[in-house]
């Protein structure tokens, strides 16, 4: 299989909208199922995509979530507008979180988001600055 690009699914993610958070990842999951991708790989992609989606909802002013399908890999890309990640090394540490108490009451902010994304992907790139964050997570097929 080559790295030929096949298709992109895109979703707008709204900041602080906890009722809708997860809709994009749910749709990505259904689309991947309809493409006949292996269930274990879909599960890994769904976890990555959902963690990224929740991060956009919690930490940014809003953004976009993309799922790019290639012949030999799936790439989850997120682009958000927001304050960026101040300390990536700390953010990659299990248990470290800058989430507020109100976010924790909703079940998030356990400090497992980025570590989970890294755990389930084969490649992870993070470009962050004071105006926003770009995350690219790759899962090989």
């Amino acid at each position: 299989m080559t790295d030929r690009f096949l298709k992109r699914y895109s979703y707008n993610i709204t900041a602080n909208d906890f009722m809708s958070a997860g809709k994009g990842s749910s749709s990505i999951k259904s689309n991947l199922k309809s493409l006949g991708i292996d269930a274990n790989i879909i599960r890994r992609i769904a976890i990555i995509s959902y963690e990224i989606e929740i991060n956009i909802v919690i930490h940014s002013f809003g953004g976009k979530l993309h799922c790019d399908i290639y012949e030999n890999k799936i790439v989850i890309v997120s682009e958000d507008i927001g304050p960026g990640i101040k300390d990536i090394d700390m953010a990659m540490t299990e248990g470290f979180s800058t989430a507020t108490d109100s976010v924790r009451e909703l079940g998030f902010g356990a400090g497992m988001g980025l570590p989970n994304i890294k755990k389930y992907s084969e490649g992870l790139e993070i470009n962050t600055g004071s105006t926003g964050t770009l995350i690219i997570a790759t899962i090989n097929l």
Partner: protein, 117 residues
Amino acid sequence: MIIKEIVDIVKADVLTNYNDGNTELKYGFASDLMSDVLAYARSDSLLITGLNNPQVIRTVEMLDINAVLFVRGKVPCSEVIELAKENCITILATEYTMFKTCGLLVMNGMKGLEIDD
């Protein structure tokens, strides 16, 4: 452990049921932190939680977990029930605390997950 046994052991109300009577849930995973659930739970687990919002259902949907047990007398909100129906997820609710619920299930043979499983 099958759903019927779980219902009997923790005296649960069955709010939605999509499990075959013989489908076995091998493990229990108890948490109110959904990122921990995403990090450690497996698809053949029962999620035991006191968190009552739609993200509980979104979390189990991503993991292919098909049964959730709400503890401490939490009555799942309508958004939770609707989302569970959309995703064919079984919802149970018990008056017992999380500690007592887990204790009873373990005493009756349900296994806990190891972090490295």
